[in-house]
Amino acid sequence: MLTTFQMQALLTAAVWTAGLSLIAFVLGGAVGLLIAVMRVSANRVLRGIAFTYIQIVQGTPLLVMMMLAFFGLSILGFDLTPFAAASFAMVIYSSAYFGEIWRGGILAVPKTQWEAAECLALHPVQRFWLVIIPQGLRISTPPTVGFMVQIVKNTSLASVIGVAELTYTSKLINNSTFQPFIIFSVVAVLYFCMCYPLAWWSRKLEDKLNVAHR
């Protein structure tokens, strides 16, 4: 069986995993919203920049982004801690996907909503932020939460640059105790405890949306 010390180490590691996920949700979400807005903007240059950003990020394995953020940036003189480098990579990674998901949601808002807002003399910026964005984000909620589950699972890749999150710590413990079945079962349960509420929430939101769009 696992010792109390090992159990504690795993729980601490789970906190790092949750922290990394949270950073990806919040900062990745903020950058992602910016990317989504650029992606649907009337300005061709902004649209092009956002498009290129999404293409590059989606075309690069997260594992490689982790390595780049840690080893690559340190060659350029930015010495990030493993956790900072992993956070950086996670934010870039999640922002591109959030941006693409939300772009779809924004474009799915009917044109008549723009017109109704325009006819009430709302400024273009007000139309966008008060009328279009809330509806676009709401339409995108199920895929957004689905992607959040992916984020939690993909934080495991931070183990390759030595972040003491769940996957890294479990390997470490396994190396000294050789109880892979027990250790990785516990780890799987911990991941499940973080992902399941999100999946459940996503399903609930989807049901609610289906009711609203009867």
Partner: protein, 244 residues
């Protein structure tokens, strides 16, 4: 009275499709003008041009002292929208906001009303359309007729000088059209200047001061309610005949 809306030889095409071909008519302040005509005759387009939602190709439109040419600017359009309200066939309420929030949105952000001021005002226009108790409901919880009345209230809250209605009862079940028409009738009685596209001939005849019959992108006939009983053109005769 001087006209509040004046269309002078207005033309509008979508590509090679000439939808409006030299349309002219006036709307006197405080009057109700009904635009009738077959589907595809350009009624909605005329209304959308009055509200600047479509840019005209030639001619001139004057609405509440705003002059719309083919090269109208965004700022001019916004100034126009402060004076003109429009209600669409499909209501177009904001589904993520409650009835009250729908109505208060523009007064708060555009007219810069305080929260309590906007709230009071919203309650008042809701009462006018008979939906005072629906302030906190979401649009999806209302019937079509109720949603359309909220859309009217939302427009009214901006205190427009002119209201446009584009077939506002066409999407409703027959038993729900009455409640919406009643609201429009009371607005007309209160002296609101209104231009409405409608298929409700009895309503047009009873409420409108002037009826404009459009056909193939032109004003084919215009006159008072009596025009429907004594059509001058075969086209209107046929339209009235089919419509009844």
């Amino acid at each position: 009275m001087s006209p509040i809306v004046k269309l002078n030889n207005v033309s509008k095409s979508f590509g090679s499709l000439h939808v409006l071909q030299g349309v002219s008519f006036d709307v006197a302040a405080g009057s109700v003008v009904a635009i009738i005509g077959r589907s595809g005759s350009g009624k909605s387009t005329a209304l959308r041009c009055i509200n600047g939602l479509e840019k005209i190709n030639s001619g001139e439109i004057t609405v509440c002292n705003h002059h719309l040419h083919h090269d109208v600017t965004r700022a001019q359009l916004r100034a126009l929208h402060l004076d003109v309200g429009i209600v669409f066939q499909s209501y177009n309420l904001f589904p993520h906001l409650t009835v009250g929030q729908n109505i208060m949105l523009a007064p708060r952000w555009v007219r810069k009303q305080s929260k309590s001021e906007a709230h009071e005002h919203a309650a008042e226009v809701l009462r006018k359309v008979g939906l005072a108790e629906k302030f906190d409901a979401y649009p999806e919880q209302l019937s079509g007729g109720q949603q359309q009345r909220v859309a009217i209230a939302r427009s009214l809250a901006m205190e427009p000088k002119l209201m446009l209605f584009d077939e506002v009862t066409s999407a409703l079940d027959p038993e729900l059209t009455g409640e919406v028409l009643k609201v429009m009738e009371s607005l007309a009685r209160d002296g609101m200047t209104m231009v409405l596209v409608t298929h409700e001939m009895a309503f047009a005849k009873g409420v409108a001061d002037k009826i404009v019959f459009m056909h193939q992108g032109r004003v084919w006939e215009e006159g008072g309610g009596e025009m429907l009983s004594a059509p001058q053109t075969p086209e209107l005769r046929q339209f009235v005949g089919n419509g009844l």
